[in-house]
Amino acid sequence: MNLAPYDSHQQGWTRRDAAHLLWRTQCGASETEITRATGDGLEKTLDRLLTPPEEDAAFAEAAALLRQTASDSDNIEPLKTWWLYRMTAGPSPLKEKMCLFWHNLFATSNVKVRSARHMGAQNDLIRTHALGDFKALLAGMARDVAMLIWLDGNANRLRSPNENFAREVMELFTLGVGNYTEADIKEAARAFTGWHVRNDQFWFNRLQHDAGTKGIFSESGNFDGDDVLRLCLKHEACPRFIAMRLLKEFVMPHPDESAIAALARCIRAHDFQMAPVLRELFGSQLFFSASARHSLIKSPVQFVLGTYRALDVRPNLKTTAQIIAGLGQDLFQPPTVKGWEGGRLWITSATLLQRANFAASLTNSDTYGKIGAPLISIEQQAELLLARDADTSPAATYFDKASGSRDDRVRGALHLILTMPEFQTT
């Protein structure tokens, strides 16, 4: 299937269509948001998602305060709180979702970097370009202090090149395995020699830079790091690589060749500018196709924050960071340079028990925050949370048979809905 626009006038625009779009692009949707998007239609909703409003003063002030706490303590926990605040209360959930996408692609872990300041600065860099220019983001990453620490920039020296960064640029950031040779990596490592960190800043260490001729992808020249990035971006595998990642993140776990090729062409045509690419993707027939719907397994962030948005929860950000980490997505601390692989790997018997226990706490205590949404009927809850046909009889049975007040029984039933296998997908 290609990226032909989805004609919502011809093909219809229902509450479930709106819910699909909002769950995928902003991690969940409240009753109010779904009603609004249903009324506005596809075009207007895409406009709003992709052109976020300015941050209002109260939000900006609170965010700055949280950020300051992280910087002062140089502790990663408050930085997680800061980011979660941006995701849950900020004006652009899509931008934050793209930040998470890039964090996963350029996966850098504080376990090695050991600095909330550097990790925060990298997150700022990502946010600047999150919906913008991938080329600029890549160039920024190659000079980013956290990244240089993470991939041993200072060890990459004239007489003993360290291949770590050069390898990951090709394998994980732009091309993917199979699109370069070991020789390309060795030569690229030479081009990045001397890209060091000094006094907490990027520093081009001329004395350690190899200024000789290098041969990469059958071109040769006195290449430096920027030339390597340019050659990678020029490589035909690069837009395909980004296309594959976007499709897996936003559309379906196993995109077919025609979808990858179509999105790769779109990325090349827009010269790696993300906003117009995302607009075509989210407005496409592919995005609204039956094979795309409910095909993605929710990440811990989508599962937890999606639940919050749907139920209008005012979250306790500290415990929220803990549960998201416990479910396997410790922000700023991805398990490896490969990031979170996601998909079925999110689901183990242990994480499903934890997801169920999170849902029990949320519906039964203030540990994670207070549910603000009205306790509507079981059928309405199921439609709001699942937006699909599903057997909700266990929840209904609990409501009918359990003891306690109506609200207690709705909360118990809600726990079961949030535990449903159907709720673990989007």
Binding site: E163, E171, K338, S349, A350, L353, P394, Y398, S403, H415
Partner: protein, 410 residues
């Protein structure tokens, strides 16, 4: 508590009127000579362990020449024979060797070694070096091939890991991956006991009965996993109630994980394969200190684990094997570390092993692009573990016949 005490203690539970947990009948039936009761514990050393500074070719001048700052002096290694010795941090492993419980299999690897952590780890986990598709793992396929034997049990368990390791991924068998036993319970918070029970049984219904739908789609996968989760959590709760280690464990994560493994083995949960991991072996720079700490953690934890198993008379039923995705280059790099290399050694610890050194140490002069050449295909070791230890035919699992390595005494 030793095994006899364990049974007496359990018997007294019955005597005072408590319901005998279901696993007791299995505990009575367990027999060390019955291959159906044997247990495999895999310890993954993630990041690429520097095999040359683990089993050290101390007598070889080429070793000292290639590693001017990282080589161990001849008199500091724990000598195994006139050629090799163990890293000084491996005192616990050396003791196991002296007690005839440790086998060292040298020069294990695969053709055309890949130096990407992920790809190489995938190769070790899938045991399919030629295939780019990484759908399932070697242990997962082994479990699937004998699924009937494990029906209703937890056939394998990954402990303390972020994700289920690829080695245990199977199309039909759902292997739990848990951080600790405490995390592995369904909780309902402050609700009346009757509602608690109602909700538990309705939660189980959400998973379906696991029979009707055999499709491989993600939703069915989640249903199946939820069913495994709820059922196995109930069983683990029974088992965990009655165990004390026979000897202290070091205060490390690996030791804590192996202690839990010992607990589950003694509790006769019926689990045949356990998988734990020790990470951090990607020692590109200043490796001496961190590598020593990692090997000490490995050695201390494995030694305590076997002491505990021996006291519980379980050491002959358990086999522990280590592996890493690759070794490191012969030559140290310019940052007092080592870069990604190729083949390396595996350790096998068991009361049922022929202790000793298997295979020659790879040559330090006949190299492949600066790397050691492997002499033993890792699938030969896997074949031995499957055919001779777990008694699961290896050929369909590994897609071919691989000559065994003779490290087992059984």
């Amino acid at each position: 508590m030793n095994r006899r005490h364990f049974l007496q203690h359990s018997a007294s539970l019955v005597a005072i009127g408590a319901t005998a947990p279901a696993f007791l009948s299995r505990a009575v039936a367990a027999d060390k000579n019955d291959p159906g009761q044997r247990i495999l514990v895999i310890v993954q050393l993630a990041g690429g362990n520097d095999g040359l500074n683990t089993v050290i070719p101390w007598a070889d001048d080429a070793y000292h020449a290639a590693r001017p700052s990282l080589a161990f002096k001849r008199d500091t290694v724990l000598k195994i024979n006139d050629h090799i010795g163990l890293h000084p941090g491996l005192a616990g492993m050396k003791a196991l060797y002296d007690e005839s419980a440790l086998s060292i299999i040298q020069g294990v690897g695969y053709p055309q070694p890949n130096r990407s952590h992920f790809r190489s780890m995938d190769i070790w986990n899938t045991a399919q070096p030629e295939s780019e598709i990484t759908g399932d793992g070697w242990l997962g396929r082994a479990l699937d091939s004998s699924a009937a034997r494990f029906a209703g049990k937890v056939p394998a368990l990954a402990l303390g890991m972020e994700n289920l390791p690829l080695a245990l991924v199977a199309p039909r068998t759902n292997v739990p991956s848990i951080r600790s036993l405490d995390d592995y319970q369904l909780r309902f918070g402050d609700v009346p006991a009757s509602d608690h029970q109602l909700r538990q049984s309705l939660a189980r219904k959400l998973a379906g009965d696991g029979k009707a739908d055999t499709s491989k789609d993600d939703l069915n996968f989640i249903r199946k996993t939820l069913g495994t989760a709820i059922d196995s959590a109930a069983r683990l709760k029974e088992v965990a109630a009655s165990y004390e280690p026979a000897s202290p464990y070091p205060q490390t994560q690996l030791a804590a994980n192996l202690k839990t493994v010992a607990q589950l083995i003694a509790g006769e949960l019926g689990t045949r394969i356990f998988f734990v991991s020790l990470g951090g072996f990607d020692t590109h720079s200043r490796q001496a200190g961190s590598h020593a700490a990692l090997l000490a953690e490995l050695s201390g934890a494995v030694a305590a684990f076997f002491k505990d198993l021996r006291a519980h008379k379980l050491a002959d039923r358990v086999l522990l094997a280590t592996y890493s995705e690759f070794g490191r280059r012969l030559k140290e790099n310019g940052s007092l570390g080592t870069d990604h290399g190729a083949g390396s050694q595996m350790f096998v610890v068991s009361g049922a092993t022929k202790a000793g050194v298997f295979g020659d140490h790879p040559s330090l002069t006949d190299l492949d692009d600066g790397d050691l050449k492997h002499a033993t295909d890792f699938r030969s070791v896997y074949a031995t573990l499957l055919d001779r230890w777990l008694r699961i035919p290896s050929e369909p699992v590994l897609g071919g016949k691989f000559a065994p390595v003779e490290f087992l005494a059984v």
